[in-house]
Symmetry: C5
């Protein structure tokens, strides 16, 4: 995720350059054909382009709203994981009366989850934080994050049985595990259910069509400055389309993705500090981008 | 659900072809009548079509928002079922201390539910996962999924009584069953309550009307290229209308429906793997479509 | 609620006919005055009507969104009642260990509620399902549905005391009653709080004004076909306005209301089947309309 | 809150009259200056007013959505208080086994809250329903409603200790008090956090500016009927602006405010009837307005 | 946060002045170049500016909606902290039977949180309300607010063990701590996740571009009054853009930020008054701005 204004501007500019160049070239072709070779069929009136613009506006605003909501829901669900992991850490100390090993297993949970959401192999952080025994059990299952919660649940149960802890307290701790399972399921839902094909493909195609027709419609009145006017407007619509596409897959490897490594480290630190462990340093942004 | 970009493009194109052909034919009729037979009554000014366009825009954006929200709510409720089934599996092991048969009965639950939501007869997966005794009880009731939850609830109660488990723990497990019942009820609500007739019928009619009038309004200025301009714009509005219609019934048999078989199998696997059963393989997309 | 496409079309057409006739008559008056008696003051330019159209668009989209959300929230709250009634049925059997009389009293609850929401006297279903003793107590109170929950709560408490059931289990069952009370309160909120007067009255008045001015603005350019163009556009806006009005009162007696009788019967069946009672048949739609 | 259609129309008309008169006067000044004194600088083209209209549309629709959501959230939170007060009444009888004095104290709660939300001194209803002892304690605190919940909580605790009631049951009752505290906090949030100054001031200023410029832009084409066309359109935008302003402060003394007295009386009745007290009659609307 | 209408107007006017001056200067340059030096290339038709306006409208309404939602979610989460702190105070007295020191520690919590959200060093209020022992532990951790909750949790646990309080009661109190942790996590999420770069940078750039091109497009028809027309419209769009930017970072030091000091003091007072402490006075707005 971009967290720095100047870097962000540079990144957005670099991404916008290729379509901008293609757009301007096409605008020049149109204006040259019209002004020099006087192609009459190019004299397009304004009506079609404005009707097209309003269909495009509906498409883009629906898609971008849906994409932004997916991105923000993804972030909110990671937030829920953060909160509940912290609460689990507190409860491991107060309700279960100790068990730092469970807090450490929970500190590995976000690292297991971020690997699963990106389809990556188990990462170094996971190995560092889990005991070999749990590590092996977790990665023998296809849904690794779910299996880790399951193992933590078994650990809680052992503690409850050993100390004869009240059933209501056990229920309270288990509620936190269910809340984490709910947030995890929400993240998997966003990952496994892309935007409907109509919403992800059609706005892109319609934007390209619009940019192709735009100079034809403008050249009659704008004349030689068509490339300027037409590429500014075309660029705005391209950027609107691109903003939506950048956000619709919040977990894939890209500068616009959610900073899952940063968040996982934060959770790890918030769990390890209170039990007296010395955690690794927080992740720093690289070139204005949080990984 | 379409999960593959090239296949998705092909499917959308195939669906768009018939209206596109009809639209273009009508545009040709209009342009030929106007250009060759000079029908004066066809010279329509731009105002009505743009006012019509803005009424249509309100209709389409309201309907499509409602349809997308229904689709996404349906997906979110299936997600809630996924999460709570997993949590039930964990609790069967940790809070109730065993009972893999309850986890297996819960693994059948999504299969019972997907058949009920589509009005299908009981499927093979259900028979495979349920004991004959429960199977018979479940399918003697009209609301099969509700009856299965009821039977699981009775199983939980037997375990609680046999082991003398604390009431608070029983309450915690029962809470998960209530959460599943809530999600199931939400899915039935979406299935049983179609979009209001005004929202599902009027946008379609208005879009057709708009596409019929469009070339009449454009032919005066666009002349011979009317079919091109008019069918591009008409196609955009047809596709907007279609996008909404595809999403408004998320459970019916169609390539745009939610992938209920895939989700049910995922839940089954997540429940069976931790108790040591070897589950069936995950469902693979066929021609870019998840069933 | 309309659940059948052809019937729905017929109903919507029948409702649309009177305004369509009035609109077309007025359009004829305008065109005759203009074309035959040449009233110059009628030559209105396009600007005012398009500005008016955009104010109207804001009004209508705000009102219709609010109305749709009321309707869908009403449906969702009925869904919550369905889910929690079912969960109560399950809990009466599993947590309380029996008590079919409480399940039957709960089966009467939706019937009591639907009568209260529509201001109807107690219906036949209520009398059939409640014991005379509870029936009398319930209908001696002004908020009948609340009193029925209160009586069920007292029944639960007797059972808890008689069997010495754990307080946590009592709390779990009571939570379901509170969830039902929350959904009931939400339905009463929608019933007792109409849309603000500005949102229900002004869009209607603005739409009528718009339809009166529309032909004045179009007659200059459209000439003799004004009635066609003007009434199509006027009709679209009238239907937008009507769609909102139909949904804003989801409980009043109308073909667009929520199918409360159908839902109440479904709940009744889902509660009675598992305890072995033979319930009445589900409600069937009449002429495409669910009552 | 306006609950009666004819009265509502009259109230809205009375409120709309002053701006309508000012608007029409200004329109006459413009048309007279233009038509009689031929001020050429008045010939404004249409472009600026339509761009201004679209900026205004964004402002108004954002502000009105925010205002409506505040109003409806306020109503929903009062609904939550209604539901939880009723549930508390049920629980006082079933879980605590009696204690009508606590139900009576809770019946005073909405009256304490409505006075606090409007900044009023303690009202008559509060004095009638509270015991002098609690009354004194409550009004010695700055947050009176919070202190009343605190006192009810102490009453619940005494009962729990006296009867040796289970901790889980105590927790269930306390959950209802927390839910009431959450709803109360939500109402205070809406009261203490006005819409951001940009959203409450700028749309109003922009609407006035728009209404001043509108006749200048229309007089050239509309001529002598400018006052009619311009004041209809100006009035629509004024009413849009006003609709938002009416709803953004849902607790202040106005005919558009939430009917807090009516709601408080309803809660009081729903709490007192089941314990056998004879409550006061429901509040009746006065001239179509619920107080 | 601005809470006073006249002051608010003055602040908004002061903020709007610099862009207004620059805008008007540029408009004058354009009109002088056009009217005096007759630069023909300046004759721009209306089409491009209106297409640009509609792209800008989508950008601004998406960004402003997102920004407003962030601001209001921030306020709602602070509200949740308020409510749960109060409920904790009530529960410390009723469920735990005393422990004013825990209520005092909780009164420090919002002060710790507001410093953390703004990146400030520990403030005076924190020192005043916390015991030195807890103070030291809290500020030795990187996430101070989380550590304070952890310490309060340990305090609750001591009390539970000392008095032999029921596990269900412990679970109920712990639920409140988890709810506070959830709200805190939500606030940190808003702080740590800025709006996507596309949403915060592009609308600003597009608005500036629009304001530069606007007079070029208007000068041909508006002539000498271009600066008036063009700067009113440009100003409206600048203010729309600015409204969004003001709200998108609700915690940073600015007159538009959430009044965190005021809210923290309110929570402190609501916690200390019922236990008999004499709290500090509420915070008063300074020049119409709540700090």
């Amino acid at each position: 995720m971009i967290v720095n204004r100047p870097h962000g501007l540079a990144i957005l500019f670099r991404e916008a350059l290729p379509p901008l160049i293609i757009l301007t070239l096409w605008d020049f072709v149109v204006v040259v054909l019209f002004q020099i070779f006087h192609q009459d069929w190019m004299e397009q009136p304004a009506l079609p382009i404005s009707l097209m613009g309003s269909a495009l506006a509906i498409f883009l605003s629906m898609r971008n709203n849906a994409a932004y909501n997916r991105w923000w829901e993804g972030r909110t669900l990671w937030g829920a994981i953060t909160n509940n992991c912290r609460s689990f850490g507190r409860e491991a100390a107060t309700l279960l009366g100790g068990r730092p090993d469970l807090a450490r297993a929970m500190a590995a949970y976000p690292h297991v989850l971020r690997a699963a959401l990106r389809g990556d192999p188990p990462n170094e952080d996971t190995r560092r934080l889990l005991t070999p025994e749990i590590y092996e059990k977790v990665f023998s299952c296809s849904n690794t994050a779910n299996m880790l919660l399951y193992q933590i649940g078994l650990g809680v149960r052992d503690e409850v049985e050993r100390k004869g802890i009240d059933g209501a307290v056990h229920g309270t701790v288990d509620r936190i595990l269910s809340d984490i399972a709910n947030a995890q399921g929400g993240l998997e839902r966003i990952k496994n259910t892309p935007l409907p094909a109509q919403y992800s493909l059609l706005p892109e195609i319609a934007t390209h069509l619009f940019c192709i027709i735009l100079p034809l419609s403008a050249v009659q009145t704008l004349g030689w400055i068509t490339p300027l006017g037409s590429s500014i407007i075309g660029m705005l619509f391209q950027m609107l389309d691109r903003s939506g596409r950048d956000l619709q897959e919040p977990f894939k490897q890209s500068v616009h993705a959610l900073p899952m490594l940063t968040m996982a480290r934060t959770i790890e630190r918030d769990l390890l500090q209170p039990i007296g462990d010395t955690p690794l340093d927080p992740i720093q942004p690289i070139n204005g981008v949080q990984p």
